[in-house]
C-alpha cells in the first residue's frame, strides 16, 4: 500500500482527472476545425465515424479512418502528444492484452513459431484489426470530448432528443462530482494536518470507512438541498431546456462530409 493509502490515492487520482477535464475545456475553446462546427454536428458526425469503425472489417479502411482522426486532431489543434499519452498508449496496453491470445489461437497460415505456439497470419490480422478499431473509435470519442465543452455536449444531446431526465442526471452528476471530490480532498488534508507518523492499517481502514460514511451523508444532504433549490425555482418534475444552437451552411457541409465518409467506409469496409 502506498504511503497515502488506497482510498486517499484514489481520491487524489479523481482530483487529477477532474483537473485534466478542466484543462481539456481550454482545447475546446481554441479555434479549430471541429470547434468551428455546431456541437450537434460534432456529436452526430463523430458518432457516425465511430459506428463506421465498428462496422468495418477491413484493416485498410479502419487505418484510413484512423488517418482521418489524426487529420481532424491536427486541424482542431489537439496535440498529438496528448493523444499518444492519454489514448493510444493506454488503449494499446488494455486492448493488447485482450488481442494477444488471438495471434496464437486463431487458425490459419503460420508465419512464425514462438516456442510451442504458432503465430498465424489470420491471428495477426484479427489482433491488428481489434487494436486499430479500438484506437480509432476511442480517438474519435476523445476528439469530441477535447473539442467540445461538456455543457455543449449535453446541450447537443438534448437537441438530439435524448431523454431530458437522463441528460439532467448526467449533467448534475458531473457537476457534483467536483464538489464531492473537493470535499473528500479537504477531509484528507484536514486529517493529515492532525496526524503524526503513519497510522496502523486497521486504523487506516476505520478512518477510510468513517470518511466514506461522512461523504455519503454529505452527498445525501446536498441532494436534498439541490432538489429544494430546483423546486424553489419552479421545477415541477420535468426539466424545461433551451437550445440556442444555429446551423449554418458550414455546419450542414460538415455534417454531409462526416456522413459521407462514414457511409463510404461502411460500404467499402464490409
Amino acid at each position: 500500500m502506498s504511503a497515502r493509502g488506497f482510498l486517499e490515492s484514489t481520491t487524489m487520482g479523481f482530483a487529477r482527472a477532474l483537473t485534466r477535464a478542466m484543462l481539456s475545456e481550454q482545447t475546446a475553446r481554441q479555434r479549430g476545425l471541429l470547434q468551428s462546427l455546431d456541437p450537434r454536428v460534432r456529436v452526430v458526425g463523430l458518432f457516425a465515424l465511430v459506428l463506421a469503425v465498428t462496422l468495418s472489417r477491413k484493416i485498410t479502411v479502419v487505418a484510413a479512418l484512423f488517418a482521418v482522426a489524426i487529420v481532424l486532431a491536427l486541424l482542431s489543434r489537439v496535440q498529438l502528444t496528448t493523444l499518444i499519452k492519454r489514448v493510444w498508449l493506454v488503449v494499446l496496453g488494455f486492448t493488447g492484452v485482450i488481442a494477444l491470445p488471438a495471434i496464437f489461437v486463431t487458425p490459419g497460415s503460420p508465419v512464425a513459431q514462438l516456442g510451442p505456439a504458432m503465430i498465424t497470419e489470420q491471428g495477426l490480422r484479427t489482433a491488428t484489426l481489434l487494436i486499430l478499431r479500438v484506437e480509432t473509435a476511442v480517438t474519435f470519442t476523445t476528439l469530441l470530448i477535447l473539442c467540445t465543452p461538456w455543457a455543449h455536449v449535453l446541450k447537443a444531446l438534448r437537441a438530439l432528443h435524448l431523454p431530458k431526465e437522463a441528460i439532467t442526471m448526467l449533467a448534475m452528476t458531473y457537476r457534483y462530482v467536483f464538489l464531492l471530490v473537493e470535499t473528500a480532498t479537504q477531509m484528507f488534508d484536514s486529517r493529515r494536518s492532525r496526524t503524526v507518523g503513519r497510522l496502523p492499517p486497521a486504523e487506516q481502514r476505520r478512518m477510510a470507512g468513517r470518511t466514506a460514511g461522512v461523504l455519503l451523508s454529505k452527498s445525501m444532504a446536498t441532494s436534498e438541498e439541490v432538489y429544494m433549490a430546483m423546486q424553489s425555482r419552479g421545477f415541477r418534475g420535468e426539466v424545461e431546456v433551451l437550445s440556442d444552437f444555429h446551423m449554418t451552411m458550414w455546419d450542414y457541409a460538415g455534417l454531409v462530409l462526416f456522413l459521407l465518409v462514414a457511409a463510404v467506409a461502411v460500404g467499402v469496409g464490409r
Binding site: W150, F178, T222, E225, M228, G234, R236, V239, E240, V241
Partner: protein, 268 residues
C-alpha cells in the same frame, strides 16, 4: 393593507428536533425585514417555510390570502404563480448552481415557467448585466469563485423579477466590495413593492438592508422593532448571542463589555 405572509402559531421540527416554536408573524408587501439570530435560531428554516419548501408541523401560513399548504402547491396554477412571485437564495450557492453553465443556471427558472424563448434570452441577459456577470455566461459554475457563485445565485432568482426575495445569509462568503454592492442593490429596492427578507447574524449590515428587524431565539420571536431599537438593546443582543464580550486593557486593568459593529452605530 392585508399581510403578504401571515404565520399563525407556526412550529416546525426536524425528526422531532424543534426548529421553530409557536411563531406568529405578519409581513406586509414592500417590507424590508432582517431575521436576526445566532446559528441554529431557526432563520434558514423560517425562510424555507416562507418559500413553501417545508410545511409547518403545526400552525398555518398564508400567502396573499391563500393558505400555503402542500396541497395548494401541488396544483400547477398556484405553484407557478407562487414560484414566480417568491424566490429564495440559499446560503450555500453550490446547492443552487446545478446547471452546466451560468447561462443555463440563470435561464433555469424562466424556462420552468415556460416563458417564450425570446423573453428568456432577454431576461437572462438583463439579469447577468445587473449582477455584472455577463462575462461568465458560458462558464461552468464549479469554476467560479465564492463571490461569483453568489452573484450567479442571485441572478438566477432576480431573473424572475419576483415580488418577494428571501435571502439566506446574503453577504456570507462575499468580499467587502461585493458585500457593499449587494447592500446597494437591496437598498435600491427600498420604497418599491419588492419585499426583501434577509436572514443574517451580521449586525453591521442590518441597518442598511432592513426597516424591521425580527430577532429569533431558539425558534421563537424574541423581539422585533426598527434596526435602531434592536441594535440599542444590548441585553437582548447578548441574550440572543448576537454580541460577545470584548476584553481589553486600559492602563493595565482588563475589563470587558459587549462588542458590536454597525454602519449606523459604531460602539465600543
Amino acid at each position: 393593507m392585508p399581510p403578504l405572509f401571515d404565520l399563525r402559531e407556526v412550529s416546525f421540527d426536524y425528526d422531532g428536533v424543534p426548529a421553530l416554536r409557536s411563531l406568529s408573524l405578519e409581513i406586509s408587501p414592500g417590507e424590508r425585514i432582517a431575521l436576526l439570530g445566532a446559528n441554529g435560531s431557526g432563520k434558514s428554516t423560517l425562510l424555507r417555510l416562507l418559500d413553501g419548501l417545508y410545511p409547518p408541523t403545526q400552525g398555518t401560513i398564508s400567502f396573499d390570502g391563500s393558505p400555503l399548504t402542500p396541497e395548494k402547491l401541488a396544483s400547477d396554477g398556484f405553484a407557478f404563480a407562487f414560484r414566480r412571485r417568491v424566490a429564495l437564495v440559499f446560503q450555500n450557492p453550490d446547492v443552487q448552481l446545478f446547471n452546466p453553465t451560468v447561462f443555463d443556471e440563470v435561464a433555469f427558472a424562466p424556462l420552468q415557467m415556460q416563458w417564450p424563448k425570446d423573453e428568456v434570452m432577454s431576461r437572462v441577459a438583463a439579469a447577468l448585466e445587473l449582477m455584472r456577470i455577463s462575462h461568465l455566461r458560458d462558464r461552468p459554475p464549479y469554476r467560479l469563485s465564492g463571490g461569483e457563485k453568489k452573484r450567479v445565485a442571485l441572478a438566477s432568482v432576480i431573473v424572475l423579477d419576483p415580488d418577494v426575495l428571501l435571502l439566506d445569509e446574503p453577504t456570507a462568503t462575499l468580499d467587502p466590495r461585493s458585500q457593499s454592492e449587494l447592500i446597494d442593490l437591496i437598498q435600491q429596492w427600498k420604497g418599491s413593492t419588492k419585499t426583501v427578507i434577509s436572514a443574517t447574524h451580521q449586525l453591521e449590515i442590518v441597518d442598511d438592508i432592513a426597516d424591521r428587524v425580527i430577532v429569533l431565539e431558539a425558534g421563537s420571536v424574541a423581539a422585533q422593532g426598527t434596526p435602531a431599537e434592536i441594535l440599542a438593546n444590548q441585553e437582548l443582543l447578548l441574550r440572543a448571542n448576537l454580541v460577545h464580550a470584548h476584553r481589553h486593557s486600559h492602563d493595565g486593568v482588563t475589563h470587558s463589555h459587549p462588542h458590536i459593529h454597525s454602519h449606523a452605530q459604531h460602539r465600543h
